[in-house]
Symmetry: C2
Subunit: 349 residues, 2 copies
DNA sequence: ATGAAAGCGCTAACAC
DNA sequence: GTGTTAGCGCTTTCAT
């Protein structure tokens, strides 16, 4: 019952009165300006500590018309390590730089994306990390053009650095790997061409087909929006579609969850009845029995790069230095062969 | 190259000049005050739209000394659906209420937790959702006492509503289930008593042991901090420790990931050599073969309650109404029997 | 090295 | 209904 009505917190004016100095001096001392007598500055800091002073970041940011108090982190979902791991790591790294990270979910909807962005611009964020929707609204583009942006996982043609898993080679490798095992009829379940990473992964598959000398007509492509549900449904359809494929490659973390489940439900044994290559989230694909052959992405590395790029971009804005290089910064993904891939049924030893 | 130097964004004063009205009128119109002529208000809104006006949330929040512009979401990690799913859902729900959610990661460290909280108080958050560390610093307690708090997954004795998985019964059920299958020697891998949810789950286990009439001395307890690594290590030690248990129950999502992997690595077949009950994350435990018997928690429901409680608490602050009931709000978790539990090796048919 | 004062962009009394 | 004005709590010239 002590402090029921929450007492207005101490501010610079109050402390200035306490110490018989001006608010300017308080501010300077607290911000480590060199132009304050050492001894005075120490006294001020001690007093602030004692009174439990916490600077009002709103006022600070409002005053210093350019501030890195806040940044945005705008993503479609958090259902996958690709987002959750990166979000956590970015929040940690940015916080160390005195920046708070506002989480905004678009659910992959361009309208929602725009609204979230508007709100973020409203709080005068210093910059943002975004995993953009497929078709940005024009208004969205306009907003993004105004501030430092780092694109994550996807690119949308705006003029910004991006950080991406370099997975084209890994997907190529997956096809080559399967071909080497004897597979000639392969299905690929991936994300739409319109998604920048979908296009790249698809190219990886195509390259693999060419490199392995497979007949493209015997490769089935199925491209759907990356959700677990879609992965499950599409896989079920593929499996019951009467197509002759003996191996399935999945090119997305979300799709992989659903696909793996659909395969299990179908009763297919891995790799005897079907070979399966999944994408992402190593922590739990290894739990499957057999452990799944997968394309592994180092998400923590991605996160570090994203955070570093953003902080660089902010520095650049403030100092007038050139911003970090536009264009993709890639982190190598690799094919990790485990137990879910083997020779096709016909060619069993 | 068009608008290189980013033009200062339009504000109320500029629009006031444009339209020959006062800033107050602008503000009123934009905030839907009834005391503005319909026709004028429309004209103002149209103009704002046309000029791409976006209100400065910092200024707004600073001015309206109490505002729900920001809330905090303070969690140890995001490595598990228990956090990532709830974070996403809360961000969505809060955003619909005009509130932005700042993500802060404590890594389960009391010092970091305090710093994050200080920073959040610095931005004058309206309230927060927190999954507190085990031993709150006194300073932390003091901060938390000053604002609306909703505790998530864990409680720390502060005077706040909390939202928790009601899993005691499910853990009891798991023991009863195993006992019914014939197990008498069971190991439980859980989180420490000091973690509020750890204590509850432990109690669930104890109740199960009593209810099933098992000999408590034949139950092995191993309590460790909830990380995947710990789950893996502890399980490995249990499996190589020469203890006679024939079933393992795991009482945490993170621990379950590591435990499942350690079991797989050990070569034990489920359920022939060992019965296993895991906790959480249904999406992928079903992928294991056999699908794992698990304790299932409806995280989306948890998230909705958390968001609702927080918004209620904010309303209460503003209106002076009584805040939402302190104490736990529970969402029922359930035992979901699948293929990883069966009769113990000795009693195989 | 320190102080006085002018904002930052908005809201909210208080006048008219 | 609408305008005037005084802040919100801080930073930052410009003086001294």
């Amino acid at each position: 019952m002590a402090s029921r009505g929450r007492r207005r917190s101490v501010g610079v004016v109050e402390m200035a009165r306490d110490l018989g100095v001006s608010t300017a001096t308080i501010s300077r001392a607290l911000n480590g300006s060199p132009s304050v007598r050492r001894e005075l500055a120490d006294r001020i800091r001690a007093h602030a500590q004692a009174r439990g002073y916490v600077a009002n970041r709103l006022a600070r940011a409002l005053s210093a018309s350019t501030s890195r108090a806040f940044v945005g982190f705008v993503i479609p979902y958090v259902d996958t390590l690709a987002y959750s791991a990166v979000a956590a790591e970015c929040a940690s790294l940015l916080s160390a730089a005195g920046t708070q990270m506002i989480l905004a979910i678009t659910e992959n909807d361009a309208e929602r994306e725009y609204e979230q962005l508007r709100d973020l611009v409203g709080t005068r964020i210093a910059g943002l990390v975004i995993s953009p929707t497929t078709h940005l609204l024009d208004e969205t583009r306009r907003l993004l053009a105004e501030l430092p942006v780092v694109e994550l996982h996807r690119v949308s043609g705006i003029d910004a650095p991006s950080v991406l898993a370099d997975d084209e080679q890994a997907l190529t490798d997956s096809i080559v790997h399967l071909a080497a095992l004897g597979h000639t009829d392969i299905a690929y379940l991936g994300t739409p061409r319109e998604l920048s990473n979908g296009a790249i992964r698809l190219r990886g598959i195509r390259r693999g087909v060419a490199k392995a000398g497979l007949d493209p007509r015997r490769i089935t492509m199925r491209l759907v929006e990356p959700t677990q549900e879609n992965g499950r449904d599409a896989t079920r359809e593929l499996l019951t579609g009467g197509l002759p494929f003996t191996a399935l490659v999945v090119g997305s973390g979300s799709l992989s969850v659903g696909a793996a489940d659909a395969v299990r439900c179908s009763g297919r044994r891995l790799p005897d009845d079907l070979s399966l290559v999944v994408y992402g989230d190593p922590a739990w694909f290894v739990l499957a029995d057999p452990p799944l052959t997968m394309i592994q992405v180092p998400y923590a590395g991605l996160a570090r790069i994203a955070a570093r790029l953003l902080l660089c971009a902010l520095d650049a804005r403030e100092t007038g230095n050139p911003p970090p290089a536009t264009g993709p910064h890639r982190v190598l993904a690799g094919l990790c062969v485990a137990g879910s891939t083997g020779p096709p049924p016909g060619r069993r030893p």
